[in-house]
Symmetry: C2
Subunit: 328 residues, 2 copies
């Protein structure tokens, strides 16, 4: 029996190409769309059982998507797919996001940001430059403090593991309100107020959906401890931009670690903020690069491939985009 | 039988006063020198079996030290005592340093600095301010990378535990070249070259002694990986100041996280550097505040008290300052 075809919409670097071929190769043929042209290309599109892609609309195009007669899964390689115009994909083709694709590097980045803020690294570096050597001003202790985790998927759970190893208590929220993970509290988004109030460090790893858009507003930020640290590695839109800026201005001992932005290059073609977050002493900013460590793209590709294999084996693909995830 | 007297050379805050009284109280009387005057003071000094102090010369004074007829231990509360003029204390009175007094807060500070540097937090924040949004420039992965630990006492081992939990390999050096701790390599200072070359993150937790003064010079720094991260939470003097500055200038992807300085307020009455470290983009500086978290002074006082109890019980005090530690 001929192996099913898995079509990759783009031409990845060799190490990812090799990883996909090796991971999927025993159970399916892997072809890369840019390698194909003419009738061969059309045939591949018509026969593909699955497509692996960063951006189905941009990388395949509407015309190619129309040819996907046998496609039973479009597997995206990015964890967040809120910015993909999924309404342009025929509703009968399931789309999966790559949950936790970058859980390991992102969780390390979260620890870096949360601890840099807790230990006042950027603030005191600047104070030293200004001539102040504040040796006896206490910094936040991590052991025994509470880490709130909003969104307890792959990335949130990996964050929790690292934070627990550092001695933090974990209070997490997810859709089900249940988890097998070792936590001190697990709840649903209904329990947001409780976790906001308990958190010394509050980490947002939620997917942006219709339910999480502008989830965190002034009324929630006002529940935070005055010296809490907020880390957003998910999507800017989950936190109201105006409310966050005001909270930063009004609470100088509060720190926001912003890795995800409201208007940013990959999703919007540019970086732009409504307020001058980068000039505030209580902001630590990173350019949405938490996923980018050596080898991270290969791990993410393997995770996507694994979900395709689940579908091909009849085990059912995971992380399918439901109606709430389809923002566009 | 009358309880032995433990004399505290200074008037600590109530929480430390209470902690000392509670910790030692069953086995010894605890008196605080500033509470005493006249003959009562002299009698206390003459009868004290142990003295607990931050700085024996400054807090007791030479005249009072001369009265310590029955003292069998001067227990310092700081971990590093290189800056105390121990030659002014009669040689028959053993002096103990407070090893690992601040191991927990310091180890958290080390993780904060090492990860902030590895994830380029300060560099990319500044790049964003300058208009560069470097989303695809890789940062260092922590999992699987190697943490070198120079000095594997209480603080070094606590650093190693946290780094191991984050997935790092541990290569450590101590005096004996042996350890019960879980490590990937343990050696003596003879093995410095090996650890310098292997380290992605190199943490210095050594005591400053005659053997470690200017231990790290150009010949060692040159063995580091180009993008290595050096974290010094011990003493500035362990690293040659000129050599480190030159290495920073010549290796822009190398980062130095400097918490301990060459000339700093507690030891020298001022903060001063020969070179403008604070202006370099590849330096993360903190004002020797890694020990200062809520409650850390109480923990340190209890550790010192515990060593005094060992002496009183005849178990032998630990961490006695040998000839190599007596710098002054």
């Amino acid at each position: 029996m001929e192996k099913p075809l898995v079509l990759v919409s783009h031409a990845p670097p060799d190490e990812i190409r090799d990883a996909l071929a090796k991971h999927i190769g025993d159970e399916a043929s892997v072809r890369f769309l840019p390698d194909l042209s003419g009738p061969e290309r059309d045939t591949a599109l018509r026969s593909a059982r699955a497509v692996i892609t960063y951006h189905p609309i941009r990388d395949l195009g509407i015309d190619a998507i129309a040819l996907l007669d046998n496609c039973q899964l479009i597997q995206c390689l990015t964890a967040g797919i809120d910015y993909l115009p999924l309404s342009e994909i025929p509703p009968h083709i399931p789309v999966a996001y790559n949950a936790g694709a970058y859980a390991e590097p992102m969780s390390e980045h979260v620890v870096a940001m949360a601890l840099a803020a807790s230990k006042r690294l950027t603030v005191e570096h600047n104070n030293m430059r200004a001539g102040d050597f504040n040796q006896f001003l206490p910094t936040k202790k991590i052991r025994g403090a509470t880490c709130g985790v909003l969104g307890f998927g792959e990335t949130g759970r990996e964050v929790a593991r690292l934070m627990r190893d550092l001695g933090m208590r974990i209070e997490a929220l997810n859709r089900s309100g249940t988890t097998d993970e070792e936590v001190d509290f697990i709840g649903k988004l209904d329990d947001l107020d409780r976790v906001m109030a308990a958190a010394d460090v509050l980490v947002i790893t939620l997917a942006l959906t219709r339910n999480t858009d502008r989830l965190i507003r002034s009324e929630h930020l006002d529940r935070l401890k005055p010296d809490a640290v907020l880390v957003n590695v998910a999507r800017g839109e989950i936190v109201d931009e105006d409310d966050l800026y005001r909270h930063l201005i009004e609470n100088p001992s509060f720190t926001a670690c912003l890795e995800a932005w409201w208007i940013e290059p990959v999703r919007h073609g540019k970086f732009e903020t409504k307020h001058s977050f980068l000039d505030l002493p209580n902001v630590i900013a990173s350019p949405h690069n938490s996923a980018m460590t050596d080898g991270a793209l290969v791990v993410a590709a393997k995770r996507g491939a694994e979900n395709v294999l689940r579908m091909l084996r009849g085990e059912g693909a995971r992380f399918l985009a439901g109606d709430d995830v389809r923002m566009l």
